[in-house]
Assembly symmetry: C2
Homo-oligomer: 409 residues x 2
């Protein structure tokens, strides 16, 4: 049970308004703090939500892959091998402390915006026999992109959190089979995140790698930076690259929360990564990559789950399960009773124990924070027979005996 009086990151209805709704809501509620454009600190409530999103993603990923952690720093040689040191314009580079001029030679490290350049040579060192294919590796990690415009809050960060998964196969067919498995896994994740009704699969270009489409998991979102187009003849969404001209009137704003991509042999070829076939020959290796922007997901959820009074979190990623609000003279033993019942169910409590502010202010703060399940304990509620259940997104409230709250939580 966390006492709100000792929780860092006070709510502040008067806090700065940002261009983006998610940054405004999350800042006023004390979840995040903007350090610079596209760069945020996660305060205690925000850290809890981000952890919950990432643990939920991790749980599904562990069913189909192994978890690793690759560094943020990469050598410039790796990024030169694929040529992306020049072609990726958002690449952040560090320079030697004593360098006097900016030349290629003085670049020391690349800050990875994605990890194909790292994982391909890594995999090559460990797995070369047909016996050990296919395999897949993921990480949940901080990424860097020097975005020209970073004004959409958590929807577009210069430093951001991402789950990236990479798979390696000895045939395109096997890759496509795994690709479908990831697709299913992603739908489960977005459903668990409470985003099912907002998430659509959008056909996008396969890039240089394939004539097939790739798939984007777009979440409908009024302030999303992407526009997706619905074709009611085929019941399919397309992104701008591939939308046919006759559906361009039918655009909707969305934010890309995940994508799954067939890379074919672009990276394995660049790093000369082949496998040993059953009859001792060299075989080509095919790769897929699959991302979910975990900090972006937090922004998307803030954009979609709110009202005029603040945030309303889906329970799966709510910073705490229960917001307990106490007011006036109450018995410690009643608080203890509530604590025991809630914690027995492995649920967590944020307890607004503050004594110097009014009930009205407490409720306004609670609206900003957005924990759906709220229990109010006051002299008045005790006189009425117990605690008042006042859910975040419902007008009505009702009184129940403390002993009965286990049915509610």
């Amino acid at each position: 049970m966390q006492r709100q009086s000792s929780l860092f990151g006070k709510t502040n209805k008067e806090a700065k308004e940002f261009e983006s709704l998610n940054a405004t809501l999350l800042t006023k509620a004390g979840f995040i703090h903007q350090e610079m454009a596209g760069v945020y600190s996660y305060l205690p409530l925000g850290k809890l939500v981000l952890d919950k999103i990432e643990n939920l993603v991790r749980e599904e990923m562990l069913k189909i892959s192994n978890e690793i952690n690759m560094p943020s720093l990469a050598s410039k040689e790796l990024w030169s091998t694929t040529g992306r040191i020049d072609s990726v314009d958002v690449l952040m580079k560090t320079i030697g402390a004593n360098a006097k001029s900016y030349e290629r030679n003085n670049v020391e490290y690349i800050l990875n915006p994605t990890h194909e350049e790292v994982i391909t040579p890594l995999a090559k060192e460990y797995i070369v026999s047909y016996k050990h294919f296919p395999f897949a590796l993921f990480q949940i990690q901080t990424k860097f992109r020097n975005e020209a415009r970073a004004k959409s809050g958590l929807l577009r960060g210069r430093e951001f959190r991402m789950k990236d998964l990479y798979s390696f196969h000895t045939s395109i067919e096997d890759l496509k089979e795994y690709y479908e498995k990831v697709k299913k896994s992603y739908f489960i994740i977005f459903e668990k995140l409470g985003l099912k009704e907002y998430t659509v699969l959008v056909k996008a270009s396969g890039g240089d790698f394939t004539n097939d489409y790739s798939d984007e998991f777009q979440v409908l979102c009024k302030n999303g930076e992407d526009i997706i187009y619905y074709d009611d003849k085929t019941n399919t969404y397309y992104n701008k690259e591939v939308a046919s001209k006759d559906i361009l009137h039918n655009g909707k704003n969305a934010s890309e929360a995940g994508n799954i991509f067939i890379l074919k042999d672009k990276f394995t070829k660049a790093f000369d990564y082949t496998y040993q076939t059953k009859d001792n020959k060299k075989g080509d290796i095919y790769m897929g990559c699959y991302g979910i922007g975990t900090s972006r997901v937090m922004g998307i959820i803030a954009e979609n789950f709110n009202d005029n009074s603040g945030l309303i979190w889906p329970e799966s990623i709510s910073p705490y399960n229960i917001h307990l609000i106490t007011y006036g003279k109450i018995k410690d033993s009643d608080i203890d009773k509530i604590k025991k019942i809630v914690e027995k169910k492995n649920k967590t409590i944020l307890w607004d124990d503050r004594v110097d502010i009014s009930m009205g202010e407490k409720l306004k703060d609670s609206d900003l924070i957005g924990i759906s399940k709220r229990i109010i304990l006051s002299e008045k509620s005790i006189q009425s027979g117990g605690v008042e259940i006042k859910e975040r997104n419902k007008d009505k409230s009702n009184i129940i005996a403390i002993e009965n709250i286990d049915k509610y939580i």
Copy 2:
């Protein structure tokens, strides 16, 4: 239960030998992969150990502070405010993608090696009234230091993991009280990590900030980069800066796993951070900072817990609790029985299910990996009456019925 056949990061007794013992042991056992000097990937086993160390540290820190997460990128203005942009020689800097020359103006971001420059202005935005002091915030996060020499494996990284805690107080006395609380917390952590008998408190200089000593938590370690000196008259260890001349013969190698430091008002003064006193005046704020190098701790444990055959993990941070080794024709139902008994106790299993290698090789790999509790299930063990218990660091083994393994685990 993780099948070893699908675990990425195979053991390799023939893998490259490094200058440092920890890098060699952890690489051969498939826990880490060196990307560059001082920069490592954590493979699945290594990621599990690192997570366990960090969760154990987190658990203790949450008892005395709030968890947040600050970004790796900081503005150069913050680091100019304290002057440390010039004085910290290991500072990594990024440069604008289009910069043509290396001038101060072209430096875009600092990669934080520590976060005083970020947390002080952050705290200032949220907490200014005497009512809300003292408070403390911690994070567990990736840090960057451009070390000139990074040849000690996880003991000295250019990119590394660290827990950093910062506390804010309205008096030196209050700061000192909290400082003692952190000291106690650190001793609990090092005990839980299995490092109690190796950990010593070492007096070091208080730097520019204080005439008092600061305290280092040094772990005795043959390949540690620090030398600490024991004064048997006072029963105290000192580091090189403050050791008196007559104890310099009594040096021991150690590695600094944690430190606790009184910063006084160095940073709060630099950022003009004062608080409002009860009678509405401006009061000075005093800070402490407290670090634990979580990836370094992993290296230190590898250095201290091993034998000629490989690693031997303390149980609190072992990648899995049980190494189940099966060999020959065995019944699925026996494996299921073991799985159920172990998982009922919330313990995890690494199952060496590989069919194409000998029992001798399996044991050698198991020695390298170093999970202390090992259960062998083979035709032979079943004939003898159950499973063979063969602990990693004991020569003898004994047979017990499968039903009785819950007493062992």
